[in-house]
């Protein structure tokens, strides 16, 4: 059966002429990455059975100094094989969606041959590097008869069959819409000694958990996709050719360079729209009922391209495809693949709610962190998700306004940066885990907020502390130095320690380890409070002297100014949280004067005393809201006479709504 499938696939492709390497149009003159894992895949989609039949030729290069005697592969689709997989046991849901109607998916490697024709399929063994779940089949090891020596390569041909699940976790189908991600046997990453945290060379190939995403090596991808004729296909990379087949199908050949994944989509209903930004061809595949919203995808993608090009570095690929998922397959939305992203829009939801823009900006931003830096999303998810979330808030703020970048609807205004912050500051237990936690080890419900939001908030705080120029200089250096090289947290922090101290004249110490220790590796919270303002009347100055002078009847007292009142004021600031950060305190007096105090934030409280002829009318800790990570801004200030208008305004609104509610219930009565 397996062999007949391979034969049929081969026969199906015999009527076509696959492109040879020489006929590909190269993307880059020189390789951008080490090109360790290079794939040539021919795959056929059976839409009625939701099946994929594929032949994969993988050339893997051993760039380490180790002798590698086995290979490890991800078989991600087996996460959806049954209820016993690690993914399904971990909750089996992603972003609130679960597998509908038990429409499982899976992948089977039917043969695995070396260049000399030896079939290693029988040597395949499922392994479980993260847990003891023997039922999980998302990682395999393949012992090699002939080990791969350092700097040598091995070529394998794998036949595989896969069934796509009903979409709920990024990949699968929804009626005749297909989003095909993590669909082929994907080799893991072999890390030699000294690479990232590795002290002894070995495979980094984690199981698929609900919280985890992906980690793979860069390479070349040449993929021939055969689908029924009416289907429109979008994929990673550049389309090389499209050829009709005698059986009514067609085969599309895509080529991608210096990417670490390949995803594709197919649907007969797409509206295919094109635009360009500089030399980047932007293709949007829209659902027909939302075709009028394509402009939102184009505009936000261009805004993101422009911003990241200016502030981080160039986007090197000539193409970007944006996929608008079908209704009933919205679980495919909001995901990134190299040069292809899935967005999200809904019919009838206009631009008052910037869902389409937000998702596009976010998913495109991943091209830099997930796509080019390619950190390990299993072990350090924040280094992609959180850094990207930080840039998402910057782009959305610049493009759509500080207070209106998420929503601007009948007076309801919400900004992306503040919503990102409030998701973290509103956590029931923000101390539940440090950000630097392996993705599958986060307590349930905390992964997203800590990885995305808390990271973005501490990066925003850092930017405000050190200044935008220092931040941009650091991030540009980090990106340029580490793209295509799988950086880790240590590399990220090292760049900050290199760039920031000289740029800030060592105002924050010789390095920023103290900062990252608290916000990245610690679980403390930050909360500064303007605790109290006390003012007492003092004796009028000079009263005793004047009285004495008056009593003495001295004529020298004539014309002297009357005694002035003095006030003793004390402003007390407290640190309620564990995180210690330098803060500014602004004190304003009733004569219009102001004093700015600096506090290193280390003690639990500090008091500032003033002896003046003016009273303190207002005091605020962190008046510029540098510390975005402060969980409560409302306790940062005190004013002598708080204005009553705001509270009466909302009281009037509440009263009005109550009256209407009671009137409505009265109608029922």
């Amino acid at each position: 059966m397996r062999h007949s499938c391979s034969l049929l696939l081969l026969l199906g492709l015999l009527g076509t002429t696959p492109l040879s390497a020489g006929e590909q149009t190269p993307m880059f003159r020189d390789p951008l990455s080490p090109r360790i894992a290079n794939y040539h895949i021919a795959v056929r989609l059976d839409p009625s059975e939701k099946m994929l039949s594929g032949i994969e030729t993988l050339t893997w290069r051993n760039t380490s100094s180790d002798v590698v005697s086995e290979l490890q592969f991800h078989l991600y689709l087996n996460a959806f094989k049954d209820e016993r997989s690690t993914f399904m046991r971990g909750g089996g849901a992603l972003r609130g969606l679960s597998l509908p109607d038990r429409r499982w998916g899976w992948i089977t490697v039917t043969s695995l041959r070396t260049a000399d024709g030896t079939d290693l399929a029988k040597q395949i063994e499922f392994i479980h590097p993260d847990d003891d779940n023997l039922d999980d089949q998302t990682v395999i090891r393949v012992p090699l008869i002939k080990p791969v020596l350092p700097k040598q390569s091995v070529t394998l041909t794998l036949d595989f069959t896969a069934r796509l699940p009903r979409i709920f976790a990024r990949t699968g189908y929804g009626n005749d819409f297909f989003m095909v991600g993590q669909w082929f046997p994907k080799i893991g990453v072999y890390e030699g000694t000294g690479q990232r945290y590795t002290t002894k060379g070995g495979w980094n190939c984690h199981q698929f958990h609900p919280n985890t995403e992906f980690f793979a090596d860069f390479g070349l991808y040449d993929v021939d996709i055969t689908v029924p004729g009416p289907f429109i296909v979008g994929a990673t990379g550049v389309l090389q050719q499209e050829r009709p087949n005698p059986d009514g199908t067609k085969t599309l050949s895509f080529h991608a360079e210096d990417v670490h994944d390949f995803a594709w989509t197919a649907s007969p209903h797409y509206v295919d729209l094109r635009d360009t930004w500089r030399n980047v061809s932007i293709r949007v595949l829209m659902q027909p009922q939302r075709a009028d919203q394509a402009i939102r995808y184009f505009q936000s993608a261009k805004a993101a391209l422009e911003y990241l090009d200016a502030h981080v570095g160039p986007y090197p690929y000539p193409v970007l495809t944006i996929v608008d998922p079908a209704y009933g397959a919205l679980g495919a939305g909001g995901m990134e693949y190299p040069t292809l992203i899935t967005a999200a829009a809904l019919w009838g939801i206009g631009s008052s709610f910037k869902l389409a823009e937000l998702v596009t900006v976010h998913e495109f931003g991943h091209q830099y962190w997930y796509g080019m830096c390619a950190s390990n999303e299993f072990e350090e998810a924040w280094l992609d998700e959180g850094v990207n979330q930080y840039y998402e808030t910057r782009i959305m703020t610049e493009s759509y306004g500080v207070k209106t970048s998420v929503a601007d609807f009948i007076g309801l205004e919400v900004g992306d940066e503040e919503m990102t912050r409030s998701s973290y500051t509103g956590m029931r237990n923000p101390r539940i885990a440090p950000v630097a936690t392996e993705a599958w080890k986060f307590p349930r419900g905390s992964y997203g907020i800590l990885t995305y939001n808390k990271t973005a908030v501490f990066l925003t705080t850092l930017e405000r502390m050190i200044g935008r120029p220092a931040m941009d200089s650091t991030m540009k250096t980090f990106f340029q130095r580490w793209r295509f090289k799988h950086p880790c947290a240590r590399d990220f922090i090292a760049v900050f320690n290199e760039i920031v101290p000289p740029m800030t004249h060592h105002r924050f110490g010789k390095n920023l380890d103290w900062y990252f220790e608290q916000v990245l590796y610690g679980t403390g919270m930050c909360d500064y409070e303007l605790t109290s303002v006390r003012t007492e009347d003092d004796e009028p100055r000079g009263r005793g002297e004047d009285r004495a002078a008056v009593d003495a009847g001295s004529s020298s007292n004539a014309g002297k100014s009357p005694p002035t009142r003095e006030f003793s004021s004390t402003v007390t600031v407290s640190r309620l949280g564990e995180i210690t950060l330098p803060v500014t305190v602004l004190v304003r007096f009733d004569d219009g004067s102001e004093v700015t105090e600096q506090w290193d934030g280390r003690g639990r409280t500090i008091s500032f005393h003033y002896q003046r002829t003016a009273r303190v009318v207002r005091a605020e800790v962190d008046p510029s809201r540098v510390l975005a990570i402060d969980i409560d801004f409302n306790n940062n200030s005190k004013i002598a006479a708080p204005p009553a208008s705001p509270i009466w305004k909302y009281t009037a609104k509440v009263l009005f709504w109550l009256q209407n509610i009671f009137s409505l219930f009265g109608t029922i009565g």
Partner: protein, 306 residues
């Protein structure tokens, strides 16, 4: 058209009973004030002397509001429980006040006497409360039956829709399938009250039955009147939104002005409620079945001597 005549006459009669609308408004306001003031006190204590509320004057400030809810949300939770309790009280009060409202509208001399009003509230309350229970149970039964019958169908329609347009249409369709019968039930409840007051009917089940019969017999007039009154209500809402959006609440003066406009809106809303009753009463009086006049022969024992 009968419903337009009923509407016009209903408006006129409601205009002649403006003090009635003011009384209903006063009750509505007194019911809402305790919770509103409770809200004010809670928020004022929570914010203390913080400067954060200053940013709420000019516009909605998501950060201030969200930080407040995150750290003080529990303090306003009791207000929500009070709201539920007061909503139930408002239903009972509405049932109580309906008697006086309808009797004032029935008596065409245009005068309003608080004493007569409350006396008639008490007179009809027992019957109206029983009508409230009957129609409440019918409403719940409607919801249960439709949920059981249409719930699964709605889920399937949404799942099988080609796009969210189809899903939205299915949702609207099912929504209307509930809203339209519910509207008819509430109309019947009104007419049952009107029949009780107009005919001094003692049997509430009889009044309910007669109300359903009346609506069925005068379906287009009854529904036409109802829709006309609803259009009037929506127009009022649109006018209010336009005015409030134009003025804003960004200074103490504008807050006071908008507050007054809000209260004028509520008075108008009470007037519309009275107009609902008045229009329905006019339609009923115009269209109600007339008693058959018996004409007998001279020596019939049924004719009493003059």
């Amino acid at each position: 058209m009968a419903f337009m005549r009923a509407f016009v006459t209903g408006v006129r009669r409601a205009n002649s009973a403006l003090r009635l609308a003011l009384l209903l408004y006063a009750v509505n306001l007194l019911l809402a004030i305790p919770i509103a003031l409770g809200f004010r006190a809670t928020v004022a204590v929570a914010f203390g002397r913080s400067t954060s509320p200053e940013s709420l004057i000019q516009r909605f400030d998501y950060t201030v509001v969200q930080d407040f809810m995150d750290h003080h949300g529990r303090e306003i939770e009791p207000l929500f429980r009070q709201l539920v309790g007061f909503a139930f009280v408002s239903m009972l009060l509405s049932t109580f006040l309906a008697g006086g409202t309808l009797s004032t509208l029935r008596d065409q001399n245009g005068g309003f006497s608080a004493e007569t009003f409350f006396r008639d509230c008490g007179k009809y309350f027992a019957r109206f409360f029983r009508l409230f229970l009957i129609f409440g149970i019918l409403l719940i039964l409607l919801a249960v039956v439709l949920s059981a019958g249409l719930g699964a169908a709605l889920t399937q329609m949404i799942d099988n829709a080609d796009s969210e347009v189809g899903a939205f249409a299915a949702f609207i369709g099912v929504g209307l399938a509930f809203v339209l019968p519910a509207m008819l039930l509430m109309m019947a409840a009104d007419y049952a009250k009107i029949i009780t007051v107009t005919n001094d009917a003692r049997s509430v089940t009889g009044a309910a039955r007669d109300a359903f019969r009346f609506i069925l017999k005068n379906f287009f007039s009854a529904v036409g009147l109802q829709l006309t009154l609803l259009v009037l209500l929506f127009l009022l809402v649109a006018v209010y939104w336009g005015i409030e959006g134009f003025i804003g609440m960004t200074s103490p003066l504008s807050i006071a002005v908008v507050f007054l406009i809000q209260q004028l809106f509520m008075i108008s809303r009470m007037w519309i409620r009275v107009t609902f009753f008045s229009g329905e009463m006019m339609l009923y009086e115009a269209q109600k079945p007339q008693p058959v006049r018996f004409v007998g022969w001279d020596d019939s024992p049924l004719i009493s001597p003059a």
